[in-house]
Symmetry: D2
Subunit: 393 residues, 4 copies
């Protein structure tokens, strides 16, 4: 049996290599996908081979991730439950797809992932695997085994697997769109996350004493410039993570609802994601009408819920994206922000094709607006309220 395994280099997937060999006598092909996590990929490769992989693949998918996944998330203002920018969630279908492609190329019989049975990642891998390579079996050693972290460490030690002493007591997942921090004392929702939980965002007391102003440019809903200079999304995200984090901006701490019905306290740092989504939302308001904005909120919410719950591959997601792409055609312009000690304030925005019409809105004499229209409008606007409340009497 030949198996392609999504390999992160961490405990779960390292243990999985050996387990797949033991249980299925499998030849394991490990696939590591670079979506912007800071890792020693050489070391990961070595660990894979030491643990028994027959072949290791390293795939640099950073640009693809930015342009085909993150760009869609920005246009959809994607914040699950109003908070989480989907950093891990967005990367899973891409990773799964890359693994499935290797599996097909190598003639594997199965694809595998290291997700547990109580999280969301299993949904994301399983759905994309099934949609991309429907004829391959899906294996999920950790879930099948029903193991927890402590059991895994025991197994690794017993089998001489190359696991590192953990860098931190937290459970971390990271890519260019954000970093998630779970477990240890964070499992108590009343406990404040300690400074050492964070890597991108500086403690507020160590941030600069001078505010920093930035201008972010969008074209068709996608970030294309920073401070007037055209850049790739990859560069813009990299810079905003750095600058935002330096100023202490980008921490998220909330109670999150997993698809399987459990609540979990989640802490994230995502300076670039928050800056880009919030400036994008602001810019949209210059261009789209009231009804359009209101309806798009439902599209956006559904988009975020779908990605969160692993349904990237579903035809509904594509239909949502068709709506979004059409709505973004004119979302071109600039937004100016000010960063200072954890605060991000939007201080100005401008757009070529703005529906904002200063000459009508103005309070001064040049206003083109005939107020008498207001009378008729107001009368009929609440006519049904009058008729229904009257009829109650």
């Amino acid at each position: 049996m030949k198996v392609a395994l999504a390999y992160s280099g961490g405990l779960d997937t390292t243990v999985a290599i050996r387990w797949l060999q033991e249980k299925y006598g499998a030849e394991v092909y490990t696939v590591t996908v670079d979506v912007g996590q800071e890792e020693d990929f050489k070391e990961i490769e070595e660990k894979a081979y030491k643990s028994g992989a027959v072949k290791h693949y390293h795939i640099d998918a950073r640009q693809k991730f930015a342009e085909e996944y993150v760009a869609r998330a920005i246009k959809a203002n994607a914040l699950y439950e109003g908070e989480y920018p989907l950093s891990s969630a967005l990367s899973r279908p891409l990773i799964a797809e890359e693994v499935a492609k290797i599996a097909l190329r190598e003639g594997c019989d199965a694809v595998a992932h290291g997700c547990t049975g109580k999280g969301n990642d299993q949904l994301r891998f399983d759905a994309t695997f099934a949609a991309t390579a429907p004829d391959l079996k899906i294996l999920a050693p950790v879930r099948e085994w029903n193991m927890n972290r402590e059991d895994e460490i025991e197994y690794a030690l017993k089998n001489g697997l190359p696991i590192n002493p953990r860098k931190s007591r937290f459970s971390i997942d990271e890519n260019l769109w954000g970093r998630s921090i779970e477990a240890a004392e964070l499992e108590d929702p009343w406990t404040e996350p300690p400074n050492e939980a964070f890597k991108l965002v500086k403690p507020l007391e160590e941030t600069p004493n001078t505010p920093e102003e930035l201008v972010i440019g969008f074209t068709g809903g996608i970030p294309t410039s920073l401070n007037g200079e055209n850049s790739t999304m990859l560069e813009i995200i990299g810079k905003l993570n750095k600058i935002g984090g330096q100023h202490g901006y980008g921490v998220i701490d909330h109670i999150e609802d997993r698809v399987i019905g459990l609540k979990s306290r989640e802490v994230y740092e995502a300076p670039a994601a928050l800056i880009l989504i919030k400036t994008h939302m602001d810019l949209e308001k210059m261009i789209l009408g009231r009804r359009h904005l209101s309806f798009k909120q439902q599209i956006d919410k559904t988009w975020a819920e779908m990605i969160y719950s692993g349904l990237w591959a579903d035809p509904l997601r594509k239909a949502l994206d068709a709506f979004i792409d059409e709505s973004q055609k004119n979302v071109t312009g600039e937004v100016r922000i000010k960063l200072y000690k954890g605060t991000m304030r939007i201080t100005g925005r401008r757009a070529e094709k703005a529906a904002y019409a200063k000459e009508i809105i103005t309070y001064s004499r040049e206003s083109l607006f005939d107020q008498k229209a207001g009378e008729g409008f107001s009368k009929l606007w609440s006519l049904e309220t009058r008729l229904t409340t009257l009829s109650e009497k």
Copy 2:
């Protein structure tokens, strides 16, 4: 003809007193409703009489406003277009109702307001007037007259009306739930609001160098304590406006869609409103399930859109509130926040009847969760995705 006029003491309504006399030969009853604006109400009374009012009423509605209007807004997490806590919008139906009650008591033929024909306030007054006193005529001098600010000043000077040199070049509306700032250079959405626009929120560079921690307690979705001490909503709001503002927190700056189809750049300061809504949202996540939270977002959004567009009196609003009241039964608990130089971070939350279940979610050995359920769940969760994508091939 006898007319009851909602009187703020400002230019629009002062001019309106005279105009109602001139045009309709009306006896004007002025009604000023205290919803927490900082004003010299003695001076307002004097202005009313100087401008020709036959009788002036002053009504202290602060507690009613907090307990019957603001409380509903908190339970509904009410932020119009994701940003505006509805400070002015919420107060209008209450003011209109008080004016209509006076009108009925004094045997008036009409009620009147000083709103223009291009804003939202006309909708709020007209709808509530019509629902509360359906037999009275509604007069709206400024709208009927089609005047702008400059015309009004001319008229006031010509008629010797007691108008003040404006305290600020901005157009301000204020109550205990927030303060809105419009006009002048803010009409250019690219211009940053200057420090002098703000009254409640301190410039960031003048804020304390030490963070301040607060614990806000809720009972049934309504704030009932601060730092462990039980308080009225009025007290809590007052304190949070003060403390939040001191730490530079509470500024909102966005492009807002008026009901009539115009976009307008709106700047608000609302420290208490933002703190209470955001902590309430956070607490809800400890208690309500995923589907409940997701659906309530639509209820909340519709609630905010209704209040914004003047439909407080509509039976639909009452049905939304019936949903909300039922959903808030168990929203009891505490949220801890940290304020510092414009930043508000939620750092912890706890609730008696939390659905958060640490003993199941935990990564360590005591977890009660059987991961095998995850396999079946994941398989069926995306079964339709598999069948629909397969059928496409």
Copy 3:
């Protein structure tokens, strides 16, 4: 071990009695709940004992079903995917609750149902069991066993269980709110359901040649009279099933999406359910405003989706019902229909507290409506359309 089993008398649950004994050495308490199915309950009791039950319970829940479940469905216009009136779905939480109550009374260790693992009923039983008797184990023999109908018959014959030669080749579920027909040739969605599939609805060619007119009266959203005569819901439903069916009305045939992601061709007959829901929808339009009706559609849709997917016990359902109850306060009036050869036409409706205002709407001279308000309304109604389309140019 003592187990309370929801017992229908059919193949699945008869086999389950024996299986629970065999596998768990269980004492089985069978519980049959009468929700309006036409059955020989004496015979069912005998079958239970013959199959090994230690005690059999028969519970007449017809009135409770009508007044606490069906009444809610009518107020919610509940049609899953626009078609299915939830007849089986609505009964499951009631049956499960009754079984759980017996289980608690008898001191059982577990509750059990005979649902398969590919349908929706398992979700409905499992959720209600868990919410009503959270400490009891849930057993589901058919699902656990992974058996199909043919396997079960074999097992029954081998074990001498009292199974009837099936009355029909179809799989039937029935109660006062409707009858569902599945399986056999209906599994091919292109095949027309044959006449023998139906019991309540007559073949069109055998229906009377004269139309029949009925007047249905509602009070607060609930049916309370038929042709001017006050009746209980139970009576009204009974009569409408009879009269509607006689006239060939009440067949539903559609492709239905099960929660688990499978599509299934479902055929129902539900004359009373369709008549009551459609007349109720019609009456609501006389009373509720446009925005209210539009929003309630989403409430209703979500209500139907929740009940279909087994979430009756969820707090969200109760919050939806709080909205609905508030919205139904004034839904009182009468609707007249005409039944003829499969057709049901609504021909008139009237309501005490109607928002319908003939004196305003009329085209003739007495109209009270000032058309000039229309001009202002129309201008501002599409102002944002103008500004957004203009800005595109």
Copy 4:
């Protein structure tokens, strides 16, 4: 002044020609657009000239209407308030656009329509006029004049205008997508519409005694064949109106909410529209997944509400259509119906790319479904219900 007027040949617009001359000294260009109404267009032209038009245009837009407007309505399952297939509403933006194009070509200063100020049509004309020819003035004589039908007749008689004795006491609007019937005794919602109100749909007692079976084929969501024979949409609609009407199918009678807040009793006959929308809805269920169908309901509802309320030209409508177009890619297949004495029953459907999977759903031995997945799914599906209800205790 030169004005292009949308001219139907009816009372409102005939009176408008003269009024525009009288009041504005206008040269009036009349434009009649054929969208499938049965009229003597020669006679209409003569009436236009007799009433004073300087030039008359007749435009055959039937194909455009079917392919660019009706086709979108079918894909969107467009039924306003669940009932009205938007026949008149859909035609208005097309008519307005044609009039605006003539106006631009003839160098007119204004466009004009004959709509009243209490209906929806004014919104539809005004919005499309403004979006298509933003620089032209919009005139609406009937609305401006605030006249009712009786006043108009008086004016016509006094001015010797060529008005016909009305063919019927009802107010009729007609095109290929349906026929609306208003006014006279129908204004009492309790009165049954008399037989003479209808033209397309035969009285039930006069319909054939033999059912008729039809098979409708769709390609990408659009009807493309009838009984296996490829046809244009125009032909299919024509045939279905005829056959459906002959069998007494296609009557709609409901209370409708106009945008301006008035309720109105509306009667329609629309055999083709109802047949095509209902068969299209049925076919979609063979192809789209559960989540997709559920979400599309909201898209469809919003689409219908937008078209009803005159917002065809809005960018939001285009974004909704982008969603719909993407969702319809695979909606290809056939639906079989049976028509008989007012009843339309769907009796079968089939599709090439169906997600319906008989081999999994079947109850018999060949089923591929592993029921054990159901257990895990069911457990986690309602886990949040369990945790939230438990926490309440």
